[in-house]
């Protein structure tokens, strides 16, 4: 059982997805949108190059929230996110969060995923059982 109190920061999760991570995530998830795996296609539609899947980054947010609650996958009850900045492969992602409230054994955690100043996921809210 995790000891989380309002105002606590959750442990930061830092991940640097390699160049081929979007290919593996496409295979695992079934989302083969070429903006994630084909640099020429991505550039042709105005992107700097391939971008990370938003749902991959949400997967990292889910992982950080689950870890903060002790690691049991049953702990994560609800997760709501907004996708904002685009995520790039080969750049470190930092997932951080702060406990907003704890009530009846459920902690509400505000979470952000960022690459440097670029917040790729913000206004994320996780409910975890503790």
């Amino acid at each position: 059982m995790a000891d989380l109190n309002a105002g606590d920061s959750i442990p930061e999760l830092k991940v640097t997805p390699d160049k081929y991570l979007p290919h593996r995530y496409a295979g695992a998830s079934g989302d083969f949108n070429p903006i994630h795996i084909d640099p020429e296609f991505a550039k042709a539609v105005g992107l700097p190059s391939t971008i990370l899947h938003g749902l991959y980054m949400m997967g990292l947010v889910a992982r950080a929230a689950t870890d903060a609650a002790g690691g049991d996958p049953r702990a994560l009850k609800r997760l709501s996110v907004q996708f904002r900045g685009m995520g790039a492969p080969e750049t470190e992602i930092v997932v951080s969060g702060e406990v907003k409230s704890v009530e009846d054994g459920v902690a509400v955690v505000d979470v952000v995923a960022a690459q440097g100043e670029n917040q790729t996921i913000r206004n994320a809210e996780a409910e975890v059982q503790i």
Binding site: V15, L21, R24, Y25, G27, A28, S29, G30, D31, V45, G54, L55, Y56, M58, G59, L60, A62, R63, T66, G71, D72, P73, R74, L76, K77, R78, L79, S80, V81, Q82, F83
Partner: protein
């Protein structure tokens, strides 16, 4: 251009998905999870799961095939070239385990316009072979320049 809102309330036929142990492992490895309950049957059972358990966000694997036909429906009429995934919510119930047969339905909750953007909101609802609620998803897709 006026946004078409005729699809609000529309439901699409259910899709079914049988959860496999190796598919769970593949997903878990990609997001960097190393909890043995996602890979090892004995570890999962010892932790109280019926079988190897999927990470919560594995929900996208069996929910996407349900929401796909809704997004591509002409009655919805989304302009994909200008679409971005704006937001996502999942609310979990019974965990999805290897061997489960999960049935997911999709519904259009709302289509609205704000600041020249179209907001399309879909809901997916997944239940397992025992009728247990597995996960409810809310998908917000934003189309620029409507």
């Amino acid at each position: 251009m006026t946004l078409k809102t005729g699809a609000v309330g529309k439901e699409w036929p259910a899709s079914t998905y049988e959860v496999g142990k190796e598919k769970i492992g593949e997903y878990a490895r990609v997001v960097g999870l190393d909890n043995p309950v996602h890979f090892d049957r004995e570890a999962a059972r010892a932790a109280g799961f019926r079988d190897v358990v999927a990470p919560p966000m594995f929900a996208v694997v069996f929910s996407s095939p349900a929401v796909g036909p809704a997004m591509f429906d002409d009655e919805v009429g989304m302009n994909f070239a200008a679409m971005v995934h704006g937001g996502q919510e999942f609310e979990w119930g019974e965990p999805a385990c290897s061997g489960d047969e999960i049935t997911t339905t999709a519904k259009c909750l709302d289509i609205s316009e704000k600041d020249g953007k179209g907001f399309y909101i879909f809901e997916t609802n997944a239940v397992n072979q025992n009728g247990d609620q597995v996960v409810r998803g809310t998908w917000t897709l934003i189309v620029r320049g409507v």
